[in-house]
Symmetry: C2
Subunit: 194 residues, 2 copies
């Protein structure tokens, strides 16, 4: 049986989830800059005052949203977006979650004008990058840290460039891209200098 | 000596340039969605009515702005961002114009919610892509069109991914990235199948 404290914590978590879900819908629709706390409260069927009990401001909502997107990307990276699977994911432009991708584009656009969001993006990227390096190290323990960082950077460029290009129609053959991305992966994992 | 018509055309062009410049500043500051025609008019020191004599709505201003960014990118591609120079530009994350890049990120974020802007982005990408393919064809006339499209797509992914990653600190050595991007360029321009 749950104690009163546990029940309160569960309610608290659920309310936060609802605010984040409402935030995501508002941000997708209007962008961070145009979405107001009032609009967000209406979307969550709460008062603005209630929202402030959970998040001190809009930036705090964005921060929690980004944290959750990165959490789910880390799981995806572990399970699906391994170096072995990347050529296929890139060539066929497979997205983990289209809403997440659109929101991260929004984060990028906002980061270029808002230093608070720029810091969030830098931290999110740093978490992803460190995690990806650790994953590569597990499979290729003889690689130098410097070489691993180079590989991960190129993969990050390819993954983020592909996410951006998903906004426009694909103009090259996915089959040919697949072959090329496989060759590129081979290049990355065979060029370690001694 | 200029005729009255020529003088009027020159004034018309200058006014349009001023509105685009004001639009760029407003869009950088607030994003497309939040920037209003009133804010834009104030920034250009014009009345809203005057703005409407040049552009039917905010989307028309965005469209002209995107057209001009692509025009300058095509010149850049021709003169600087050739296949030969790309490894260096990518490894050191060199930007043509940081404002242009931030505005194109904003175009991407807006494209994911506004079909008019999505169409603009698709047309802009199509112009860039066609032009890049023609450039490659000039240097490698024996390459198949299919192979050229594959190369250009990979380059586009690398250029756009690098632009996005410029928002966060670089974590790999530019010198090592340079070597890798050179190998990748060699791979692209040597893997044409007969």
């Amino acid at each position: 049986m749950s104690t009163p404290n546990e029940a309160r914590d569960a309610r608290h978590r659920q309310r936060k989830d609802e605010i984040i879900a409402a935030g995501r819908r508002c941000f997708r629709q209007s962008g961070f800059h145009a979405a107001s706390m009032a609009q967000l409260a209406a979307e969550a069927s709460l008062s603005v005052g209630q929202i402030y009990r959970y998040f001190t401001n809009k930036d705090a909502i964005i921060e929690e949203m980004v944290k959750r997107i990165i959490d789910s990307r880390l799981v995806y990276m572990e399970e699906t977006a391994t170096a072995r699977n990347l050529p296929r994911l890139l060539a066929w432009r497979q997205a983990l979650d289209e809403d997440d991708e659109a929101l991260m584009l929004e984060v990028g656009a906002e980061a270029s004008r808002n230093p608070v969001v720029a810091r969030m993006l830098a931290e999110a990227d740093s978490r992803m990058f460190t995690h990806a390096c650790q994953n590569v190290k597990k499979t290729y323990p003889h690689f130098s840290d410097e070489h691993i960082r180079t590989c991960v950077e190129v993969f990050a460029v390819l993954v983020e460039g592909t996410a951006f290009r998903r906004l426009t129609p694909q103009k090259a053959s996915a089959e040919r891209l697949f072959i090329l991305y496989q060759q590129l992966t081979d290049l990355l994992f065979k060029t370690e200098e001694k």
